[in-house]
């Protein structure tokens, strides 16, 4: 399998573009890992409490479809998955921009957990207002909503290690 450096060389990316590619790819992968962890937890939890396995994905799609999403078909789950993934990747890339590539795993872990709390604040006090269906249901169990963002942070904590693994040839740390 080609490393990120090899892909970068082949695609002719250099300088600022190369750094952006490195940050983007590692952040996107870490964000995807965190997003999958979070969503898996929620899907299993939702099934266990009796709300149905796919309800969390439907609630995400509620941002577009409103309350009708509660009885919508599989398309709404697909839309929910895509929106969740996009948001997870976005916050993953922002995290990758904020941390150094040589950050040891312990520090990366703590930073990612703190970042998870920041994401929780942004989601709760800004983004969730766009999706009242999900917001009102989250109010019933606010502790879980907080905890899963720490889980998201756990996935994000792999970002510096991913950068080092995928782009080993890079010189000065940033």
């Amino acid at each position: 399998m080609a490393t990120g450096s090899a892909v970068r060389r082949r695609s002719g990316l250099e300088g600022a573009g190369a750094l952006a590619f490195e940050l983007g790819l590692s952040g996107a992968l870490a964000g995807t890992a965190g997003g999958i962890l979070l969503m898996l937890w929620e899907l299993v939890r939702s099934a266990i409490v009796g709300e149905g396995f796919f309800l969390p994905l439907r609630l995400v799609a509620g941002v577009f479809f409103g309350v009708d999403v509660l009885i919508a078909g599989p398309w709404s789950e697909l839309v929910g998955a895509l929106v969740h993934l996009a948001v997870s990747i976005f916050f993953g890339i922002v995290f990758a921009l904020l941390v150094r590539r040589d950050l040891p795993y312990g520090k990366a872990f703590v930073s990612a957990l703190l970042y998870g709390v920041a994401v929780w604040l942004v989601m709760t006090y800004a983004v969730l207002f766009a999706d009242p269906v999900m917001r009102e249901r989250l109010l019933v169990s606010p502790a879980d909503w907080f905890w899963v963002h720490l889980l998201y942070g756990l996935g994000l904590s792999t970002a510096p290690a991913l950068r080092r693994a995928l782009f080993p040839a890079r010189g000065a740390p940033r």
């Binding site: 309800l55 609630l59 009885i71 929910g80 169990s141 879980d144 963002h149």
Partner: protein
Amino acid sequence: MLGCLALGAPAAAAPPEAPETPSNAAEETGILARLRTLNGAETEAARLAQGSALSPRVRDYAIQLLRDQRLAEQAVEGFAQSHGLELPEPEPTAEEAGELERLRGSRGPAFDHAFLAAMIADHERAIAELGAAEARAPDLALRRLLRRLIPILRQQLELGQHLEAEIGESG
């Protein structure tokens, strides 16, 4: 991050608080008993709809109602347990019992219309009653529980209204 749900029964069970005074306990028991009765009547109707509704969307609506009602019931039981309250068995009013009988006698498209009309009326009544109960509830934890359940009832009401309009349009 965007994927979290919902009606978690464990979180809905509030931690034990200071001992209830007898009058507060009676008031809280009354509110919770009524909540259970409203929930119970809707559960019966939703169970009927699961088997009798013609439209798959109405059946899906009934399934969602049953899921939400089961969790609401758990939340009420958790609250009663943590506050040392003993709740009486749900007792539907004559009107609620009559409504169920009418549903049992309906078939096909008529059932779908009757079920949705009943759910809309029930939810409007429940939202009004629980809103009033929230205003007079003596305990902060009970007010919080009601504040969390009422928006879910509003979602169910809105969904029922959308479905009724949809089925009305399709004849």
